[in-house]
Assembly symmetry: D2
Homo-oligomer: 323 residues x 4
């Protein structure tokens, strides 16, 4: 059933970081540190570098003050320096490359490129390990920072979701450029792809794309950090409630991917998720893509919650959905 | 800090199945089906084939009636047919190969070999997908069998633990034969390795070895299935209690690997674990091995529980620890 | 602030049992036993007697085959024989008494009466302890039946909710007849009470009434059993999903009373809830009633979920809401 | 089986507050506020007044700087002013009264008395409601303070445990003086009571006494606040670990009362518990005392954890156990 002549690609190791733009930098920073529970590891220019307590890299979220909102760029780390070279060769051949950049506070040189919708990606191998100051050293040395228990206290970067006008083109792009696998997708009645979930490793997805109806390119849907237990998601809901954070929908369980989710907007309007996947992993090397039809999606989320309308329309930067 | 001239190996995809021997086949089967919550998918000869509700393969546990207890063999699935050939070449060169077998009810031809302590391994690529009968079809098509909620209702095979006289030799063997990474290990004061945790993918470990003091070769320590939440482990404790299952230790959190654990003995005496890892994954391609000293281990488990004495002595088949 | 000349009333100890009518007796029984996780303790006439594993009485749910659906009657146990006599005197003076009945399979003689909407209540003191057969004996003797882990495996009867045309009259009735306290209520803009939550003990409520817009008297809204953890409610959602049970709304947290809820319809259409209250109790003897306005209720449930329309209309027996 | 000529007593409503003595006042305060998650509501003299976020009274813990450790006194609130008068009359007749005191920052006049071991109790009715400052106002008005999520963030005072040389005398004292019920007890082989659990309301216990082997009178064993979920107890363990708090034993489930527990020592050495009771309540008015034998207790806690030795010896102020 599966093509076994072509071996799976392991060149890209994992999602590394996401750069989020905010036009309310102080409020956004307060949210990410005091409410969401990230830790600041550095500052440079208009950006603050943030990380969850069990992220091993210097940063996984780069929060950048900007005239608008949305995503600056997304970075993936490769499995080796050689794998980075192989990927760059493929991407250059695809004609979507931008070129090498010197790197950032949190990692070494990186190769930048664009997806068909205009989002900026970068690949890098050389990274900077987080070195906790004395006050952040963990009691057990197999976690990367002390479990501080502040706010939602998310554990690690999990995935992001981007909007794109043509998800089918994205599918071809991601499987070729990063060697990603498509674990699940939505097939609309009109023949278009409504959404697509990709992974480069054993996580069930590290990036998802859903269809954008505004015509505005390169928009951002949400970024997600993982917590260890569903109870942490329920607890997060109370923390958001008490801190006046806008809760869009959840907690509930997604039908697609089975993730236990909770969506909020940080103060500048970017959507942020808290999620738990339980013990679910994609260990199977020849995982066949699971395709959901529009009819199936009409049943709502796993336990029947209707998908909230704004989930199909709200992205950043904001934009009007064409009628 | 890490050697980047050698690329990581992705030839082996995941732990596939474990064969457990029992001299109380009916009691063991009752335990695994009614209490632990596995589902029977087939029978052949002296063996019953069992699986957890979200395992994608036909079986992950082969329960075989035998004169004694312990492990029959352990199987790993490779990432591709080509990867299987590559691994066989390496293993044959190591001189520990046994040879090809035709396969089993649950998978195609497999290559068998021995670890330095005598445990039998097999590698295979061709597998048999589980096809749920009507009564076991799930409500959501991205899980592999209906969540039946019977007994502990474990989700998927997670890892196993074997005993070996010389764990250092095992470390060399596993990293060479399977291309496994050593994520954590125990360095004893006497210079020996007390334990070693290996992974071939993003799980923090799929097999562990700990030192055997009996001199008996090829003994088995435990097999573990994962549940989605720590609450499922606590609930399992009540289910074991009410069903008269011997609880050895737990629930508690391991210092090593941070797993939330619960250990019991199935009726024939083989140790079985229920575990939850939370959101912890080894996504980092150049993960540096974490080494625990004897002094550190004396602090007990994560929250201070002393490691129970039988954890260092009880294995199957049973044996006396030499004084 | 509180009237201290009148002492609180402790005559009624707790909600004892609810009789539910079903026109699909076999399907309803399968639901309550195999899916919801109650245990049958007896049968008589058209009724099956059911109980949760930690209910101390013979039964807490009496399931009666009937031409229609809804509630047969609700029973409360008094604190003592003397308290029963005192209550009967009060109720007779109110003019709503029906009279003594001989009792039932699960308890001794009881005094029956009607609330202003026509629901039938009974008060009793003499009860029948549940005596578990050998197969249902618990491992620990401070619970009343073995934790069997079957289906949702609810722990104990928690509360019920009835519909009434005039909730204000109900408030007067309950506080006088049973000596209940009003812990929370909804004050509508039109001056009417939209809902009222009552308790006779330290639970935050054992019965609630909400306004019925159909004009049909004595309708039933739902019955609720408690589980120990919110995780049990989430797990229940998967069990309902896999068993084809209609999920109306949830899991989510109520703003009123803070209960973590999940509502389903059993096969005959009666609404059934699974709930967890956490550690919340009404220990305060002079608890001031908390009043919610319509404006406040428009914010939806605790984390923003809109209250589902059917929650205001669906009751049993079914009826049309007058426009 | 139960004596129904005597009606149950409802004069005492609930445990109100505990005064803890500390010879390390600053460290103890840091522990209770930053780690345990209480909130300071006032200061007077050598005392700081503390409360959990859903306690309705001004304070539930009075932390008093002292030359030693242990308990200052314990306060219970009565159900009414009349009930207070009735109790005082009974206690005076018992000959163990001390007399009226003017009250405290958190409540009005109180009547003080001694238990047979010398611990000081007080009963009061007039209390002071907690009035949250703007920054502590909750999002939902049915909780008494904002859920701040700081540290362990315990919800409400639950119970305390005292040591006594003669627990049998305590049983007579508590049932007479407060009208408490004995829900569970330990009957030693030597005819003595090893422990006794009492309640004045629907909680399964609000105070417990266990036998003291030191001969030192009026010692303190531990104070306990409740959290909503068992997951909160597990999370507390990580918070204690990261903050260098000594964890004595747990998390595990008690056989007696079924409480999910975790015990630590605050910096001055007083034992403090975090606990969750699930949905368990003593609603039954004629609850028969459950008696555990020494043989039964030897099985350890619910899931087999051996009771730690220090649990039988460590109390405050500290003392030597006579051989």
């Amino acid at each position: 059933m599966t093509d076994t002549t072509k071996e799976p690609c392991f060149d890209v190791a994992h999602l590394g970081h996401v750069e989020i733009l905010t036009n309310k930098p102080e409020e956004s920073l307060d949210f990410f540190v005091d409410v969401y529970g990230l830790t600041e590891s550095g500052r440079e220019g208009e950006s603050v570098y943030l990380r969850a307590w069990d992220d091993y890299e210097f940063h996984t979220l780069k929060l950048t003050a900007s005239a608008s909102t949305g995503m600056g760029h997304v970075g993936y780390r490769t499995s080796s320096p050689q794998a980075l070279e192989r990927r760059v060769k493929v991407i250059e051949a695809m004609g979507c490359g931008i070129g090498w950049v010197d790197g950032d506070l949190g990692h070494g040189r990186a190769y930048r490129f664009r997806d068909p919708d205009g989002h900026i990606f970068e690949l890098y191998y050389d990274t900077r390990d987080y070195q906790p100051p004395e006050s952040e050293k963990p009691a057990l040395k197999n976690i990367h920072q002390r479990y501080h228990g502040r706010g939602v206290a998310v554990r690690r970067l999990d995935h992001l979701n981007l909007l794109a006008t043509d998800v089918s083109r994205i599918r071809d792009f991601m499987t070729t450029a990063l060697g990603s696998r498509v674990t699940e997708q939505i097939q609309l009645d009109n023949g278009r792809l409504g959404g697509c979930w990709f992974t480069v490793n054993n996580k069930s997805y590290d990036i998802a794309y859903t269809e954008d109806h505004t015509g505005i390119p390169a928009r951002f849907h949400h970024v997600t950090y993982a917590v260890d237990q569903r109870e942490d998601v329920l607890r997060a809901a109370d923390i958001f409630l008490e801190n006046g954070v806008f809760i869009e929908t959840g907690p509930h369980k997604h039908a697609i991917q089975g993730t236990f989710f909770l969506y909020v907007y940080e103060p500048a309007g970017n959507r942020v998720e808290v999620a738990n996947a339980g013990a679910r992993l994609i260990l199977r090397p020849d995982w066949p893509t699971i395709t959901w039809t529009e009819t199936e999606r009409r049943k709502g989320q796993a336990w029947g919650l209707k998908t909230i309308e704004s989930f199909h329309t709200h992205g950043t930067p904001p934009g009007e959905v064409a009628e």
